[in-house]
Subunit: 467 residues, 3 copies
């Protein structure tokens, strides 16, 4: 046992000075860095009239804003409502799920604009931002929301902010290696967002292993209403996933294709999830956890290949497989990971993001390797894989190899980074809750007095245990 | 009495093999059929660069994706969140409403892509799909969601999948007759979606009449929170209905006009719904059922005419009338239909979809018949009604006649199809719930243990009644 | 004390004839006025084909519909779901919040189309409407939703409809003075929507002061689930605010820039809200009221300046400050306003809309005054401030002065209008609830029987107190 039994009594979850300090310090840092580095990109700058003339554009509709803003808003909803509500299933942690997700994402997008900006939009000493940067920042934070799913209910808001700082940094580095050095395609982020985010989070939760977590076992379940709230998250993720996978694809056919492939994959995934959910439960009943999560695996798994010529039936096959893999994971793998490998994965991100993310990377590698000029057309082939400049002579099979290398790099950085960040979060200065206070809103949030309030005040360390 | 009193005890709702079998078989069939038939349309295919040159398009923004994708996503939200949450009002059937809606819609859109594809997008042996096909598939499934509203809580998931298979097929046939053979306009689907879907569903529920349904009378009501969840569905349907009615209209003014007409009709509908809801209740209080449903009738009733020159005040008049008709229907017609005609209509789709759908068809016929070149302009007139080719000489009054014929055809196919499908669903092999288990999530879903759990386990046939 | 103690017993909240009468009369008036005045604008009219030719447009994508419709739908969601759900936090007033918001907004948008149409879209005796008018109507109603927040739970639906009628009228007058006479920029409505709406509402609630409101003190709080519903409202407002502030900006760079500035401001605001919420609570816990509301202040405060060259770091600074001001307001100012100034502000709109709105007006004035041709470019400068025609010679500092004058005018009309409307609403004919029935759904709505039902029927004046 790593910690003494009654550790909880001694834990200090008092946030009054620490949380404000971290929030304010970091926000001041953001302002300073934005002041030094961040400016409007040409399409958002008031000089756009001159820019238009130079670029020979005849209409304002050619502004990237009109190509991408609707998809951006869908992605935005996925990050804040999708992830926030999906994690609301815990009976006493609704505020924590949606509130802390809100906090870490709001911080993360600012830091991501900087980190990704330095790598991708840096010109003459300035980061020039536009709607595509906003989408990429949301994507980056998406990987943090995924990792949050593994440690949900067991960490303090300060730990989350610290993790966000490091994870966004590592995300940007990994993304740079994949997209720029390996010249890999990953528009929907099977590798950069899902594989990286999930294995990072799983490593962190392994390091933060709590042997006494069964003390709050009763709070790890859902109640009727918390499950219905979670369905809001599920549905918004499911519906808007075609926008997620197509948001930063090339204008025109690539965006169009990515949306169609994702739509097909997700539809197939629902059917196999329901089938296996019923088959694996001895009374044949459907399990809400599977419906809330495994139905989304199809979107994760076409993240890399959606903008390629995967074809609608190819997408159905991927969705078909992932619904099965993910559901089986919830039934057999999650308990195994917890009991044998000491990986306590609150939301089961291993089943929704890690495995489908890996599958997505592999499907992407295969689809790239199988590409031919016949299928894509001469120009389409070059445009789809950006085989220009130094990459002019790269062949599909070589591209497939690099795609596979991208998976490996993502895994490597996830494990190494997760171990490092886990070790930092283990320091006893961040105010994490005691084992018996996990999965409880009351520790960090003022909870209204209601019919559930009795349970809330039992183990609150801020109050004397007896009057 | 059609069934023995204690039928419930003998009913077998065990889904463990049947549901997985149906889901997997059908998904495999989808994959095979997609593999044989479905390919990307020219605007989603990697050959788009060449296509653009041939069609003389100067910019990627001319891709249909940018004309229709935002509307597609709004329609998508209406189908999955709108219908799913609207049906969540039952106190113990929240999972069933949103979960089964999810299942049938995910299956239905795949089958609809095929059925509608064979009729409308079939070229050289392949179905070529793009964003418009996705919208049409969602529309088609919308009619199934409507029919689901009539039988909500009284059927097994397998019955729903069987119904979806047949209803999508019949929808595509009916749509083909209307749009292609009769050359009728129905962009928002007053006839093809609402009239067809509702009368189909009402016929099915009539055939499936359950004389002992009062045994689960206590579960047919709502509770405070289930009503608030249902309001999410109502509002998303109400807000996005302008997108629904404009999603597949002609580019430009027609889409623009359809959105404005729908916006106006819906606004007027809210006022008369509130007025009659208060007037018809003896204490003058507002009834949530009316607010949840009748406020939407205005959107249904301009489904055919929204893209025509109905004008904003014409739309207000239609909305005004439909709010009244629908609210009066909930108060007087629904009880009458149940007690006299044995039509048990759980969600009152007769008031929200059937009557307003008919009104919509009639309004469309009148608006078409009243069209003049003066109002539309010479080119606009031809474009609005597609009076080209063999239809070059069709006059507005003839068009009005064909529109009216479209209503009749839709009704006919709905009644005949509903009777057939109802008879099939009556076969005792689909695992439908006993009368006393209707409107209960616990029959097919694993429900979390909570304060409501006692009530859930009372009549569960899977368990022995006494220990 | 202004009213006798046991007033409640005598109050007549019977709506059966009054509410229907008002709804029907007003809707009939709308139909008549729409019939006389409202027609489709050129881009929604079937003559658009000819219009396109005249305007030399080569593609349907140039229709304003495609520039603004996605933003319109986001704004629409903010008005109906955003405001409706945000006000759902009260434990027993969920229906009232979302239902009355629905009613007043549905009426308000119709009246706003007329009022704003007469001022801004009137040509040859007709109001010509298009998607921009729909957005402006939604904006106008937004200011009514804000005022509704101050009197939430204390008024009858008839009072709300009367207030909407007057407030929309005054809004249109104020907007005309600002935009047309003073030639002020206010695309996101810091002045016209937030400052005007909030001070109007605060004046009304001051006039309607209820000394006995502590009788319903227990119902003024939230419960666990009502707070989670309110978070839906918060998140949709927060996510879609970039669309709100950019919806009616000039095509191209201005819309793009407005979205980016708002995104940045909102992100910073979340961090400082969390910081001060924790800092000002003696146990250091986060208060849900702050997270639900103060996180949005950053969007309000860049309403005027978002489309200007505020720059991303300027936006962060504004968001930083407003999160603090708003949170401090909830902790210290709201109790002070209620106890000393007798301003009973149910939702705390003073903190979310009034103060941030003023800040937004000031930031806008400063940003305008600081504008240079260097920063904007020669053409961009003229386009951004519309310095054409009679305004050709206006300098930035003069513009700044006019912007400041706009704040003053908005305040003046808000106070005077609020006092007038408050006096009208005080007339004893509108059926407002007694003090002990405030914040209760049961007064005007049929509430389902459930576990909370006992509390609902206690003080219902329609029933005899004893059997």
């Amino acid at each position: 046992m790593e910690r003494p039994r009654h550790q909880g009594m001694a834990k200090n979850t008092y946030m009054r000075w620490r949380l404000p300090l971290v929030c304010l310090l970091w926000e001041v840092a953001m302002i300073v860095l934005f002041g030094v580095f961040v400016r409007f990109g040409p399409e958002a700058d008031a000089h756009w009239e001159e820019e238009k003339r130079e670029m020979n554009l005849t209409s304002d509709i050619e502004n990237d804003f009109y190509f991408r803003y609707p998809s951006f808003q869908d992605v935005h909803v996925m990050i804040f409502v999708g992830f926030g509500f999906l994690m609301m299933f815990l009976k006493r942690y609704g505020f924590g799920a949606v509130g802390f997700n809100f906090l870490l994402a709001a911080f993360g997008i600012q830091w991501a604009l900087l980190m990704q900006g330095w790598f991708h939009s840096f010109k003459n000493g300035k980061i020039l931002i536009g709607v595509e940067n906003l989408i990429n920042a949301d994507f980056c934070v998406g990987s943090v929301c995924i990792a949050f799913g593994a440690i949900l209910g067991k960490t303090s808001p300060i730990q989350l902010l610290v993790m966000t700082l490091f994870q966004v940094t590592l995300f940007a580095v990994n993304e740079y290696i994949l997209l720029n050095l390996l010249h890999v395609k990953d528009a929907g982020g099977s590798m950069t967002i899902h594989t990286f985010g999930a294995y990072f989070g799983l490593t962190v939760t392994r390091i933060l292993y709590r042997p006494n977590l069964e003390q709050s076992k009763d709070k790890q379940g859902s109640v009727y209403h918390s499950d219905l709230f979670a369905m809001i998250g599920t549905l918004y993720l499911w519906m808007y996933w075609p926008s997620f996978n197509s948001a930063i694809s090339e204008h025109g056919d690539a965006q169009h294709r990515a949306a169609i492939n994702t739509y097909c994959s997700l539809a197939a995934c629902v059917l196999t999830t329901m089938a296996f959910s019923s088959m694996l439960q001895k009374k044949g009943k459907l399990d809400m956890v599977h419906i809330q999560n495994a139905t989304l695996a199809g979107g994760v798994a076409v993240g890399t290949s959606a903008e390629m010529m995967l074809t609608p039936y190819g997408s159905l096959i991927v969705g078909f497989i992932c619904g099965i893999v993910s559901t089986v994971g919830y039934v057999y793998l999650t308990p195994f990971l917890e009991s044998r490998l000491h990986i306590q994965d609150t939301c089961g991100i291993h089943n929704l993001h890690a495995m489908p993310g890996l599958i997505g990377g592999i499907v992407g590698a295969i689809t790239a390797a199988a590409a031919t000029e016949d299928v894509y057309g001469k120009e389409g082939f070059i445009k789809a894989f950006d085989f220009t400049g130094v990459y002019q002579t790269r062949t599909p099979s070589v591209q497939g190899g690099f795609q596979a290398a991208g998976i490996m790099v993502s895994l490597l950085i996830a494990f190494a980074g997760g171990a490092l960040v886990g070790a930092i979060l283990k320091l006893p200065i961040w105010g994490d809750p005691a084992a018996e206070n996990c999965f409880e809103d009351d520790v960090y949030k003022q909870v209204p007095e209601d019919e559930e309030s009795d349970a809330y005040h039992m183990h609150n360390p801020d109050k004397p245990a007896s009057p």
